[in-house]
């Protein structure tokens, strides 16, 4: 009897930690054609951690994120955020899409893009007040783009565009930040600026999840990893899950032996 009670408690506890995760994905399958891009993936994002989603090109990293957020319709799977349905928790989630996914010739200014992050606060017809603009300027300041507020977005470099996207997500005041390839094609200064902002978010108790492609920086930037190649390969702290074996399993023949050797030295 005692034993049964204890195990019941155990189950209840596991369920609680599982469902209270900022983002919990169960059995997610997505298909664009005949072949699934993401197959039956489970992911439990660790609260307060910085997690990298890594895997080879075409492994379904971005697709998994988009499907979890409802941008792409999955074939199956359940997603909860902070223990509730995703739609109830939209206000607590900030998503930064790939820079290349939008047309930067759109007729708008940098400050207007950041103000888009305040849409949930403003609503359809809420008046845009000085404090909203001040908040947007503050977010631009945090990514070092304050002086660019009135620029047309098409005039920005790739790194500057990425910083503007990050500023827009900061304006959302979220608890969970999901970024899709924020370091792709940006200059070194931008990469440093972005990682500094992400680390400050983590220090403030926020959860950060990044689709990442540069294996060499994983141990410097992140404390958790999620390896995917259509199916989940490994998940856990960098020490546990980011090993030569898991990388070999995720990348297979696509990672040259020399790279594996180099990485195993990084991984230790």
């Amino acid at each position: 009897m005692m034993l049964e009670l204890a195990s019941n408690n155990g189950i209840a506890n596991t369920n609680e930690t599982l469902t209270e995760s900022p983002l919990a994905i169960r059995g997610l399958t997505v298909s664009y054609g005949q072949k699934p891009a993401v197959f039956s993936v489970d992911m439990t994002v660790q609260a307060g951690a910085m997690t990298a989603i890594i895997g080879p090109n075409g492994a379904g990293k971005s697709t998994m994120l988009k499907a979890a957020l409802g941008i792409v319709k999955p074939l199956s799977g359940q997603v909860t955020a902070f223990g509730k349905s995703l739609d109830d928790q939209r206000a607590r989630i900030a998503y930064v899409p790939q820079r290349a996914s939008v047309d930067w010739d759109f007729p708008t200014r940098v400050i207007d893009v950041v103000l888009m992050g305040l849409y949930r606060e403003l609503g359809l017809l809420g008046r845009l007040r000085a404090r909203h603009k001040a908040k947007a300027m503050d977010c631009l300041n945090r990514v070092g783009m304050r002086d660019f507020a009135d620029r047309q977005i098409g005039q920005l470099s790739g790194g500057q565009q990425q910083r503007v996207f990050l500023a827009r997500s900061l304006a959302q005041d979220a608890d969970l930040y999901l970024l899709d390839e924020p370091f792709a094609g940006v200059d070194a200064a931008t990469e440093k600026a972005i990682i500094a902002v992400l680390k400050s978010l983590k220090d403030a108790g926020k959860t950060v999840v990044v689709v990442h492609h540069d294996l060499a920086t994983v141990t410097d930037y992140f404390d958790h990893v999620f390896l995917i190649n259509t199916r989940k390969v490994a998940e856990g702290s960098v020490g546990e899950a980011f090993t030569a074996e898991t990388l070999q399993a995720a990348y297979g023949g696509r990672l040259a032996t020399a790279q594996i050797d180099q990485l195993s030295r990084v991984v230790g």
């Binding site: 664009y32 054609g33 988009k66 957020l69 409802g70 941008i71 739609d87 939209r90 989630i93 900030a94 998503y95 899409p97 996914s101 939008v102 047309d103 930067w104 010739d105 759109f106 007729p107 708008t108 200014r109 207007d112 893009v113 888009m116 849409y119 949930r120 403003l122 609503g123 359809l124 017809l125 047309q152 977005i153 098409g154 005039q155 827009r168």
Partner: protein, 309 residues
Amino acid sequence: MSGEEFVPLSLTPLLIGIFAAVACALPGNFLVLRKQALIGDAISHVVLPGIVVAFLLTGVISAWPMMLGAAAAAIVAVVMIEAIRRLGRIEPGAAMGVVFTTMFAGGVLLLEQTDTSTVHLDVEHALYGNLESLIWLDAVGWSSLLDVQALAGLPVELGRIAATLAGAIAFIWLFWRPLKISTFDEGFACTMGIRTNALGLALVVVAAIAAVASFDAVGSIIVIAMFICPPAAARMMTNQLERQIAWSVGFAAISATLGYVLAGYGPLWLGAADAVSAAGMIATVSGIILALAAMFGPCRKRAGAPAQA
């Protein structure tokens, strides 16, 4: 020109032309930015079979059955385009091309086989519109604008296009923020809780209503110029969406006014006897404005495009 001549003969066609041009240009701004400009073309073509079928069913040319028929055809087309796009997993342009050419061809065949000799519905009317005939016979001059009896004789098309324009303005005003966000970044809009699919569909429906209501004024072919030319020209005048909308409204109104006047009097000034099609001239003027904006507009360079080596 005196009021006695202008008010009955030119005021209503001119107003209908301006309202139609602006009602199309407003949603056109978003269609152009979403690279869906072709959808306006598709809509303007697919409404033809709807209008012909409505005529066959009712036997009369009357506003509401025609509007309903056109709207039904537009909805059928939108659903078919979406179905072909999703099931066939092909680009939207190809799906639209298949649907609108087929439906338009079907409409032309239907119209040809139908005895419409007793009413004013023929292929020409469908193609070029009928702006010049939308006159206000009850008017005697400017004073008629205050005469209740004369006002009752205004062409029904005027009230219809005015209501359509009001609807388009209300839609864009109310949904300005979600429209702007989802046009720029659909994935992000989705994560903000914006129903991007429903909003995209609503935009297409507004465009469809504008196309149908403009059918009488400019016909089903030329309406596409009203969706694309004023917004495209406006884009090259400014880098801000709010100002782009304002420019597009201005360009649409200028196209309609100048087009109507040039069609009516241009040939006379050149010594020719007859006037030319107002709808044709309106579309031509809007095309010339676009060409001028492309050559001299301050924001015509694609700033985001990679520099040419």
